[in-house]
């Protein structure tokens, strides 16, 4: 299988994602330049963290118009697996592949630390190697990661099982202190209705080796690998 990692001008986690896939997961991976229109036959496309186009205007607002994004949208609409991490999550909401928006952290500070995430569902290609309720230790690093959606829309997401990851304490409990940015319903990661597009603010690619402080992020990458090997998640056409 093959991963593609998109590089926008200002991406700064593209090499982390590339290295995690290539050297830790041990799968094939290629960079996809934002001006290219070629996904290079990737089975999974990762939109990495960083500050695409300097985050000018709004995070992700300008990146969504890159030529590669038109291909990513087509790929996603045809069922291809797309994972947006941090800035990548912001790009996915701006381009309309994921609902809601990411706004300034409630405390206005850039927050860079380890947090705990609870896996809410393992019926997704991004979490199929986890069990529901598993707690993953994964770092965040963002200033605009507060997930926002309106009353009613939030409930719809919850009812449809689209909340994939939630901020919790190390014991898996939702507490005000465990929410690092003011996200509504402690949402750390969501999927689209179809289930093939994920956005998450925490960085699984930064938690793939013991020396980094956690290997829990690997579970997301391993899930993607299993998903690609399984008929259940393979896209039509």
């Amino acid at each position: 299988m093959k991963f593609g990692v998109v590089t926008f001008p200002g991406s700064n986690c593209d090499y982390d994602a590339y290295a995690a896939v290539k050297f830790i997961l041990g799968e094939e991976v290629e960079f996809l330049w934002h001006k290219s229109s070629d996904l290079k036959n990737s089975d999974v496309v990762i939109l990495p963290g960083g500050f695409a186009h300097g985050d000018y205007l709004r995070a992700g607002a300008i990146a969504r118009f890159s030529p590669i994004m038109q291909e990513v949208v087509k790929f996603a609409r045809s069922g291809g697996l797309v994972a947006g991490i941090c800035n990548g999550f912001q790009v996915l909401t701006e381009v309309g592949l994921l609902p809601g928006a990411l706004i300034r952290n409630a405390h206005l500070r850039f927050s860079c630390k380890f947090v705990y995430l609870r896996v809410e569902h393992n019926t997704t290609p991004f979490t199929c190697e986890c069990r529901p309720g598993d707690v993953l230790k994964i770092p965040i690093a963002h200033g605009e990661g507060s997930y926002y959606h309106f009353d009613g829309d939030i409930e719809k997401l919850e009812d449809a099982g689209q909340v994939v990851f939630r901020y919790v304490d190390r014991d898996g409990r939702v507490t005000p202190e465990a929410n690092p940015n003011g996200s509504r319903n402690d949402i750390a990661g969501i999927r689209n209705a179809e289930g093939n597009v994920l956005g998450m603010m925490p960085h699984p690619e930064r938690a793939v080796e013991g020396i980094l402080g956690s290997t829990d992020g690997l579970r997301v990458l391993e899930s993607l690998r299993s998903a690609c090997a399984s008929a259940k998640f393979v896209r039509a056409g």
Binding site: R58, A61, F65, A101, I103, R104, N105, S146
Partner: protein, 83 residues
């Protein structure tokens, strides 16, 4: 020569969307002793200079507002034409 025209676009968060910047500014004002300002909502504005004789400019401005300048999920915009 056709004169250029101007438009100003105001973008702000929709009602009800938390504005942590506004909240922080309001708190700062209260701390400075200005206790009559009960809330602050922040936003941004854009000045657009438009080529003279441009066709369908009102439609174009609407388009760029909803496509780029504002995020219609959480923001609203107002357009002001200045000559």
């Amino acid at each position: 020569m056709t004169q250029t025209k101007k438009a100003v676009v105001y973008v702000r968060l929709k009602d009800g969307v938390l504005d942590p910047q506004g909240v922080t500014i309001q708190k700062a004002l209260a701390q400075m002793g200005y206790r009559d300002f009960l809330s602050v909502r922040s936003g941004r504005f854009f000045e657009l200079e438009i080529a003279g004789g441009a066709d369908g400019i009102d439609r174009q401005i609407e388009e760029v507002c909803s496509k780029l300048l504002a995020n219609p999920v959480i923001e609203k915009f107002e357009i002001e034409r200045v000559a």
